[in-house]
Symmetry: C2
DNA sequence: CTCATATAGTGGCATATGCCAGTAAATTCC
DNA sequence: GGAATTTACTGGCATATGCCACTATATGAG
């Protein structure tokens, strides 16, 4: 409301805002490159995780993605509708549904992977391999259950 | 649960996935704390930006948020509906609408700021002030126009 | 001045995500 | 064994975001 603080910007102080802003930008950059596959970044990531851990339950998949279970369900719908993913009811526990890519899904994933690689390489070149790795480690720490637990616990380290 | 701990995970290799995953987690942690204000993290960030740059046009605001103009418009709707934000048509250029917080909006922002501070302090304590600052700098670099330009340009740092 | 073009927003549609209230199936307790 | 509780998902509602098409304005070329 005043001109004095004119240049104050939330993301210079708030890590959460900074994270979201950077995520929007990088998401955009990656999306532009894998767009030709018809997939979005999130869908590609999801398919990668499904492919590499085929047969996981929705619950487990949601946890690994650090995503709400119902959110995962919603996000999966267009992929199921388009025949990329399928849910297979577990034989033993009938509450459980196991997720896997269909044949078409695997092909689409491979196609998208070729496009993703270009984005990945650009990022690595521009940002630096070492730093990119360090950034991912940092982000994965923040995404860890341990971190969330400590944060919720109150604050103090140890 | 998987016996083989070999499970390949995208975010160990893909910076974009890692960013989104960490953003979901931290967003959740912050949201839980400012929830009492009735605002979401994004809304709070947006209101902060509006408050500190009162009277900006939607276009300018969207750019600073690294957000699509139409996305900003959508995000603003609930805030306008709830009387937190108002759009004031520019006198000179009638295409332009200037954004500002209402009285109620300012009060709500102050209330949310008290809650946000707790989240901020927890993060700083847990993550480390120095590192938090470094992380924000890194993220702000990724969110910069310069970075996007170079990324789109191809790659080389030239 | 007039017309072609660029600019700022809006509205519709689609995905991304989360919360909450069910539903159904498995597990625990008595 | 049967009721109470927990667990795994689903569906509805709301916000978060982006793309595209369209409208209203402003601007620049002639």
């Amino acid at each position: 409301m005043n001109e004095r603080t004119k240049s104050f910007e939330g993301w210079q102080v708030c890590s959460n805002s900074a994270l979201k802003r950077a995520t929007r930008q990088l998401g955009q950059l990656y999306d532009d490159l894998i767009d030709a596959s018809g997939l979005r970044g999130t869908q590609y990531t999801l398919m990668t995780q499904i492919h590499m851990n085929s047969g996981s339950s929705l619950k487990v998949l949601a946890e690994s993605m650090v995503m709400d279970l119902s959110a995962l369900g919603h996000t999966l719908k267009p992929l199921i509708r388009d025949g990329m993913v399928e849910l297979v009811p577990d034989g033993k526990d009938r509450r459980v549904k196991r997720v896997k890519l269909t044949e078409a899904g695997i092909e689409k994933w491979q196609e998208a992977t070729r496009l993703w690689r270009e984005a990945h390489e650009r990022f690595e070149r521009l940002f630096g391999e070492e730093q990119a790795k360090a950034l991912r480690d940092t982000l994965n720490l923040i995404a860890s259950k341990d971190f969330a637990g400590r944060f919720r616990a109150g604050s103090d380290k140890d």
